[in-house]
């Protein structure tokens, strides 16, 4: 399943190996191609450098700086103090809680998203597209608005609470609990799970499923032995796309966790704005980003080869 077969640069005519002229022409063509590609991508590169790389470097520099007693930052006396603070129990708890909630969110997204993606991918084209649009519709509303609307839904006396009361389960008080945070995160990031899952399930050659049925496997076995393994690239990509933003989520835990369920995002904001400890905020940010980045790189490195 490598896409390199489509790469025109990979198509080497064996005849050219014996012809120096052909080789030279080809090399020049490739160089011209690369140059053109670079020029076309230049605005994007500039944008990335200006708005991504430069701020990142600034964050990195601040993480080695010292906080003065007045709460400002002294850009001198470089040290690792802020990184040492990451080992303290307070930070560790926040990290564990974040990772835990992000993991739960990922699992819930997978459990909800897989059946949906599977269902959508196995419908006829029109239904497929409708189901995919349905996934994306919530994006048309502002993220904050959506989170606040969950607050309304979950609050005591709100619709969910009334519903559970009506069917005799008693009032539920979900707002400002972990459940609320996981619900909100799941709701926010579910599309990031569904879309890659859909893409990988949709690509599966259903004749393989027929072949497995022909080889005495039940419908369930065909799923567990053929469909699921072949959709693993989507499962992994979706999990990363949900886990990574959940780990650093700020808005949802703030609004639905009510500050009781501090996650990394909130902690960083507190360090910058309330505690006015920029070096610590910067170091947490930087480590978080480094972890996410390496997870992604590891995935794509491994993915390119095996999947």
């Amino acid at each position: 399943m490598s896409s390199s077969a489509l790469d025109p640069l990979d198509i080497v005519d064996p005849d050219h190996e014996h012809s120096h002229i052909g080789e030279e022409v080809e090399r020049r063509l490739r160089r011209a191609d690369r140059r053109r590609g670079f020029l076309l991508a230049l605005p994007a590169y500039l944008y990335m450098v200006l708005f991504f790389a430069v701020p990142l470097v600034i964050v990195l520099i601040y993480s080695f700086a010292t906080r003065t007693s007045s709460g400002s930052v002294a850009l001198s006396g470089w040290n690792l103090e802020s990184y040492r603070k990451l080992g303290e129990p307070i930070v560790r708890n926040v990290v564990f809680r974040s990772a835990f909630l992000a993991a739960i969110t990922t699992v819930v997204c997978l459990l909800v998203g897989y059946p949906y993606a599977y269902f959508a991918a196995t419908r006829r084209p029109l239904v497929r597209n409708l189901l995919l649009v349905a996934v994306m519709i919530p994006f048309w509303t502002n993220f904050l608005v959506r989170n606040y609307s969950w607050r309304l839904l979950l609050s005591t006396g709100g619709p969910i609470s009334s519903a559970t009361e009506a069917i005799g389960l008693g009032e539920t008080d979900l707002l400002f609990t972990r459940t609320a945070v996981v619900l909100g995160l799941t709701y926010s990031f579910l599309p990031f799970m569904i879309l890659p899952l859909y893409a990988s399930i949709e690509r599966i050659d259903w004749r393989l499923v027929e072949a497995s049925r022909d080889l005495y496997s039940s419908g369930w076995k065909s799923f567990s032995k053929i469909v699921f393994p072949l959709s693993l690239p989507g499962v992994i990509a979706g999990s990363i796309l949900v886990f990574v933003p959940s780990l650093g989520a700020y808005v949802t835990p703030e609004i639905l966790g009510g500050g009781r369920e501090t996650m990394l995002g909130s902690y960083i904001v507190t360090q910058f704005l309330t505690a006015r400890n920029w070096p610590v905020g910067a170091s947490v940010s930087f480590v978080l980003m480094a972890v996410m980045l390496s997870a992604t790189i590891v995935y794509f490195r491994a993915g390119g080869k095996n999947l």
Partner: protein, 353 residues
């Protein structure tokens, strides 16, 4: 003996398309049966109904006497070699081959032994740990074969298994498959659109056209006594000389020539004589055996094929293709030569016009 596969009025409709139209067919146990027909005539659909991948719209389908019409594929004692092989890309060769056995909960030791045997049977020893995408087309084809045969099905279904291979490889595999079928003694139902493949491999052939079964018989029967023009034309090449039946052993051709045939049919019927190019004798004008009907014409095209020479001979009323062998004792003719054509009485088949 109970047939391995028995179909009665077996029909499959897709919306308004009748893909398979009331098939009546018995395939004997241990037989190498070829289902032959042009693309889109319903061969794959027939095979898929036997496999259980398609549910018949009507009719009966029995495997070794048991009605299987709506039985799911995993409950049927048949296995398929799919046209595109459909090997599992995420499994090694050994795991592909052992898949069916594992699904049947065969004990581990047996699986290992039988997978080993099957891999040896198709001569892929040493490739057990490769992935399908690390194999050549011919090797993938063998894996597909081993994966099906290892289950010792009562019937093996093969859907154009050689179509994707290049000519040399295909010819080699035809021979191997035939050998293999004799060795294992399993009933093979082999789908192909390649008439040479069917003729050279099958014990019996069923010719399909447009969803219908047109003729069933041994390769010789199908080739020598085609029941209609479609079959005669699809299996090899043929000239069709239009005429009318005069009496049970005489046909009057359109140009007035009377020829003797073995079974002409009912007097007055419009028919055509199916005449294979290699059955026609080509001689200098008039050099025809005493009392033998003949047709006069002029050579209009000569095509040299190596093993033979194909002549187009223009008669006043049609053109006839003649194939002569390339042997020193067979005289050659050139374009423009005046020639006569004749044939033995038993060399032609009468088909509906």
């Amino acid at each position: 003996m109970v047939p391995a596969v028995s179909m009665r009025a077996l029909t499959k409709r897709f919306d308004d398309v009748v893909a398979v139209d009331a098939l009546d067919l018995d395939i004997a146990d241990g037989e190498f049966f070829a289902l032959l027909g042009p693309s889109g005539c319903g061969k794959t659909t027939t095979l898929r109904m036997i496999a259980g991948l398609e549910i018949p719209s009507a009719g009966s389908l029995k495997i070794h006497g048991d009605e299987v019409g709506t039985l799911p594929p995993n409950k049927r004692p048949v296995n398929t070699v799919f046209q595109n092989y459909a090997l599992f890309p995420h499994m090694s060769v050994a795991d592909n081959v052992g898949f069916g056995l594992r699904m049947q909960k065969t004990p581990k030791a047996d699986v290992a032994r039988r997978v080993g045997e099957a891999i040896e049977l198709v001569r892929l020893t040493g490739m057990e740990h490769r992935r399908p995408n690390q194999l050549s087309g011919g090797q993938q084809q063998r894996v597909a074969l081993a994966r099906a045969l290892v289950n010792r099905p009562k019937v093996l279904l093969l859907d154009e298994p050689l179509a994707a291979l290049d000519l040399k490889l295909r010819q080699g595999m035809q021979f191997e498959l035939k050998q293999l079928q004799r060795e294992v003694g399993i009933t093979f139902v082999f789908v192909t659109h390649d008439q040479e493949e069917a003729l050279s491999m099958a014990d019996r052939i069923g010719v399909m056209g447009d969803g219908e079964l047109l003729q069933v018989g041994t390769p010789e029967e199908i080739y020598d006594q085609p029941v209609n023009r479609f079959v005669a034309d699809f299996i090899g090449r043929s000239n069709f000389l239009p005429g009318t039946v005069e009496d049970p052993s005489t046909v009057c051709l359109t140009n007035g020539t009377r020829v003797t045939v073995e079974h002409a049919g009912d007097a007055g019927e419009a028919i055509a004589l199916s005449l294979r190019p290699e059955r026609v004798q080509l001689t200098d004008r008039g050099a025809v055996p005493e009392g033998q009907a003949s047709l006069d014409g002029t050579v209009s095209l000569v095509t040299f094929l190596g093993s033979g020479v194909v002549y187009q001979v223009a008669l006043d009323w049609m053109t006839v293709e003649v194939r002569a062998e390339n042997r020193p004792s067979v005289p050659r003719h050139d374009v423009g030569d005046d020639v006569s054509l004749w044939w033995r009485d038993d060399a032609v088949a009468v088909v509906p016009a």
